[in-house]
Symmetry: D2
Subunit: 259 residues, 4 copies
Amino acid sequence: MTDVQNQPDERGIEIKRTGVTKLFLPFFISDGDDVQQVAAQIRFTVALVENLRGTHMSRFAEILTAWTTRPIKIPDVEKILLNALEKLQTDFAAITLAFKFFIKKFSPVSKKFSFSPVDCEFIGELTRGERMKFTLGLVVPYTSLCPCSKEISDFGAHNQRSVCRVKLTFKDFENISIKNLVHLIETQGSTEIFPLLKRADEKFVTEAAYQNPKFVEDILRDIVIALRGVENLAAFEVECENFESIHNHNSFASHKEII
Amino acid sequence: MTDVQNQPDERGIEIKRTGVTKLFLPFFISDGDDVQQVAAQIRFTVALVENLRGTHMSRFAEILTAWTTRPIKIPDVEKILLNALEKLQTDFAAITLAFKFFIKKFSPVSKKFSFSPVDCEFIGELTRGERMKFTLGLVVPYTSLCPCSKEISDFGAHNQRSVCRVKLTFKDFENISIKNLVHLIETQGSTEIFPLLKRADEKFVTEAAYQNPKFVEDILRDIVIALRGVENLAAFEVECENFESIHNHNSFASHKEII
Amino acid sequence: MTDVQNQPDERGIEIKRTGVTKLFLPFFISDGDDVQQVAAQIRFTVALVENLRGTHMSRFAEILTAWTTRPIKIPDVEKILLNALEKLQTDFAAITLAFKFFIKKFSPVSKKFSFSPVDCEFIGELTRGERMKFTLGLVVPYTSLCPCSKEISDFGAHNQRSVCRVKLTFKDFENISIKNLVHLIETQGSTEIFPLLKRADEKFVTEAAYQNPKFVEDILRDIVIALRGVENLAAFEVECENFESIHNHNSFASHKEII
Amino acid sequence: MTDVQNQPDERGIEIKRTGVTKLFLPFFISDGDDVQQVAAQIRFTVALVENLRGTHMSRFAEILTAWTTRPIKIPDVEKILLNALEKLQTDFAAITLAFKFFIKKFSPVSKKFSFSPVDCEFIGELTRGERMKFTLGLVVPYTSLCPCSKEISDFGAHNQRSVCRVKLTFKDFENISIKNLVHLIETQGSTEIFPLLKRADEKFVTEAAYQNPKFVEDILRDIVIALRGVENLAAFEVECENFESIHNHNSFASHKEII
């Protein structure tokens, strides 16, 4: 059968990224001692030289299916990308794996545990002959309590669920701990949040938030300071968003830094 | 050209609803004196008798396009459905128009105004020879403040953005006011919310919520009582959901009633 | 500490459903010999008698956390609901678990395999003293090819990704096979779809669809006929939707049946 | 009342973007002679100097509410940003307005018209003393038909709804036409798509697509070539995505260029 993708192309345009997106596969993701099976949403692309018409779309699913049977650690992302360089005869490959990862959380007073879902992204980019550029995306929830509302009100203070989205690019991707990074971020809000709170825990969390009021800008700045202390970070982007309880819209702050 | 849709069908299955969905059109929606142009997401279907193979899909967009130039009041939905009975030669037609409608809101102390978006649905069902069955869907936001958290804590109380989703089926659809129904619902939370709050307003809203703590069940019950007083209601469904500030999940309560 | 939820309520309104929603937990779901860990999105509610103010929200997460360590089969959903009747002292409980489940699929000619994600819902409702009412929700993709377009065109025919959403309520929930039900539904389209297709497979699938043109109404009727043959079904709802390649909106048909 | 936002901050971090997001307001958007009222989703932020604790969140809604009564052309976005520099005493402001805009489309043979929704974004960034940097985001649908499937199959060819997302940054934002840019992009697919097609139109569109097979890479390259011819463009980003009819995942290609 004719290989139409392999036809020459004369438009003279090299394409940096072509491949598949919104592909879902079951992967085993490993973080420290913890291995979880996840439903990963995948974007997997390669560069296409200017004189070729198309890439071979079926090979992306083929490469990835082979990775459904063994745990994937962050350094394995580089191996997946090396598979792509080889099987798709290209000098650049990129992948994003997006999935929910569960963190075990113990409530602050009763010490009961449950699981908190964190949206994670493994983003790898590999140029032939170089090391992978790896970026970890995380979406971490917490509570914020408004300092202005507390200050001007005779009692109470508006507070709300809030979220931090980070993209962390690492110089060295051998020893990244999702769990530790989530903890670093979630403790910068007015208080951490928990999947399971008995009454003594609810009292603790309510009072902790009231004693630690923070604007969206305060939380952003404290996360920036915390991230500056993370070993091996090359760059980071942070977005903080508070789902304001007194509005139908959100407050927002963002920051980028190259270290 | 052959009319393949008009071929006979021998499977013996009458289809209650066939048509188009996720069609978007610009409509002018009228509520009292207020007319707003909206981007309506539409599901528009008819019944198909058992001995016909398919309906004529292009006629749905044709009927609706004719309604893009004049204001649509709720009773006009019946006229749209009558168009469908006629042009698609059927005895049953149904339509859902989903759109954002903006309510003017004045902040409680400074009296500054802005607009609050409400997700609306006009749901009409028409059987030949009967009056339209009309259901109004609304999604209305407000604040809830937790009575348990307030009671057990030495200071503060967790609160959060919350939302009520109602489906209101009317006996008579001539004099329905979106604006008034939204107001009836949003005032059952711990406090109303506003798009624009100056500091004096924020103090007012914070204190109002603290003085009016309500569980998701309290708000649900108060909305049920409020809706029982609405003239011309034949049935209603209510869902209340609080985006808990101390959890990454929501609390929820729902109720249905036929009057 | 005061148990504010346990206060008496005088509004005289029994609430059929109160609890938690958008809670995520990692469950092991079992289908035949296949066990997969999933990130389940959960709605878990109970009835609340008219003279009590609120339910105990923390118990829902507590009950469910205990189920994160062992495989859940469909009959186990009844056990989870029995836990709720007991721990929340109520006569009615309902749960929805929504998750992606992966089906192994072999391409039609090359016989290469990969995994196809199916959106599943386990919906259980339990009234004290009765057996659980169990409903399985599935979202199953396939291709549709338009009979009208094929008939009137000199060459080609528009085709598109399409999807069937079913809710299947069973009389007996002991021997339900997700895998078999997905297969029953996906084979009613113009052709099945696959995560991994080599060129010989692509030729096969393209020609199979062209030789089997079906309107959205055809597919709906064929699924209805197929479901009537499923053992132990008490009722079903079917929605078929084609993401029309020649429009920016979808064609749609739906049907309900009680057996 | 204390102005807590105005307190000094000692963390030494200038914040580039702080403000509001997911705010919705009704705006009148003007494109050539066409004015449409839209429900705009807004992100509106400013820079915050390192020695101030917070910005004044209520002023964003105040500035924008004043713009709900008159048509907004693209150059007006600069005026909105100038309002922000002034009222929030800052040297940088950015805004994104996202909304559906309707394009009138005539079907190719029957010449019947209806409206096609296009997702638009107006993205403005203003540094004091400079001109606004303006970027237009568009999401434009069309059909793609697979050249490989056509070539290897004895009859038929898989085709599907597809979409192009562009971000176009202009050197000069005085004479941008949304309508013309949408047309430039949608005509690069295998065929344009339409909201309303009678049978003669459906035949036309089916045959046009079959005679113009294009991979996702072909469409991307043709759009790149088309965009290089647009006057006043400073830079562009293009993403093309085909909702493959034979898979449950999509094919994808992207490209960026600075002119």
